[in-house]
């Protein structure tokens, strides 16, 4: 099971500290949500070796307009092990759900965001995963949290109906916001998700990263076909 963490150049938590915390909390790995507009250079391999966890180089696009988001998707796709595009707006959600080059539609219900059956079906067809973001459930209170829980319930029903892929995250911005996998499962089941759904959503990050690493590998020709060096096989 993987957790996604927000890294910033001048943020309150360094990638290394996220590594210690995520590993101690019981996750198998973490996805770095590096913002496309303000990228931080991270040595993912040395982090992975130091803390014995998987580290995925994710890039999150936070553009507010479709044209800008579209350009950024084209630019960042070749280097991203997981490409996330933040929704938080119905038009942008629809655009992202219809973009097969995107891996994850991040925070679709946040802000003014909303999702309907058309977007859910498009996401299922294009293999764009919806992010079930538990951030608001963990850190908001009162009416805001009620709204977030209601939104996540709607998202869950649409995902189940369309059979759309989804991922689950606690989305911490500092190491103090990290919660363990069993905590996220407990919170998820309390707001109406199945235990298996939350587990699958936390594990899906790893599956997406592995699929993309395979695609980025220069020896990969197409799914299931790869170039083999003759000298190695003899």
């Amino acid at each position: 099971m993987y957790e996604t963490v927000h890294v910033h150049a001048d943020g309150p938590t360094t990638p290394g500290r996220f590594g210690v915390t995520v590993s101690r909390a019981g996750f198998d790995g973490m996805v770095l949500r590096n913002r496309q507009s303000n990228m931080v250079t991270v040595d993912a391999e040395s982090l992975a070796n130091q803390y014995g966890i998987g580290v995925v180089r994710g890039i999150e696009i936070t553009a507010r307009e479709k044209a800008i988001a579209s350009g950024a998707i084209g630019n960042r796709r070749p280097e991203a092990e997981i490409l996330l595009v933040r929704g938080r707006d119905p038009d942008l959600n629809r655009f992202v759900a219809e973009s097969p080059r995107v891996d994850v539609l991040a925070d679709p219900m946040g802000g003014d965001g909303d999702v309907n059956h058309v977007m859910a079906n498009a996401a299922a067809e294009n293999e764009v995963a919806f992010e079930v973001n538990l951030d608001g459930v963990l850190r908001q209170s009162g009416g805001d949290r009620v709204q977030t829980i209601a939104d996540l319930r709607k998202l869950r029903e649409l995902i189940e109906d369309a059979g759309a892929p989804f991922v689950v995250s606690g989305s911490p911005r500092t190491h103090l916001e990290v919660r363990g996998p069993r905590e996220l499962i407990a919170v998820g089941t309390e707001i109406g998700f199945d235990l298996e759904q939350i587990k699958a959503g936390l594990s899906a990050w790893q599956a997406i990263a592995e699929r993309n690493r395979d695609r980025l590998d220069p020896s990969s020709v197409r799914p299931g076909v790869r170039l083999v060096d003759d000298s190695d096989s003899e």
Partner: protein, 158 residues
Amino acid sequence: MRHLPKHLRPRYRYLAVEIETWPDADFGRQALQDAIWSEARTFLGDVSSAAVDLQVIEADCWTGGGSALVRVRRDATEQARAAIACVSSVDGQPVRIGVRGIGGTVKATETKYCDGPPDATGTESVSFRGATGRAVYRTDRVDIDMNGLFVGATPREL
């Protein structure tokens, strides 16, 4: 009042709770109890909070963290875990909080899951992100005080 007969006494489980904070945080058992109760009421609601019956038995706070022992009804450990996970600050101080393990008795839970404070704690002045700050070390982690704003890092990154 007379003790209840054994078969009528409630069955409990004890949660070993791990807490991480910034180095300047300090709070006691009552503050943690208030934070957990308030979160249980808002997240689980009155009916479920009564059913879970979260009681902080003891709490220990040290530089940069702490630990606590929380008693809950035996059949409500997962609800308790969810309520505890939703606590994001105690007494206005941000915390990372999670359940390390669950035991059937106070003694077993303490022996198995409560490690006590980390060994090495020291402070020194360091240069970080082009400025100087006071670093507070704890074994594999370090918090740097940059003019009142803390940054969490690891000793390898300094």
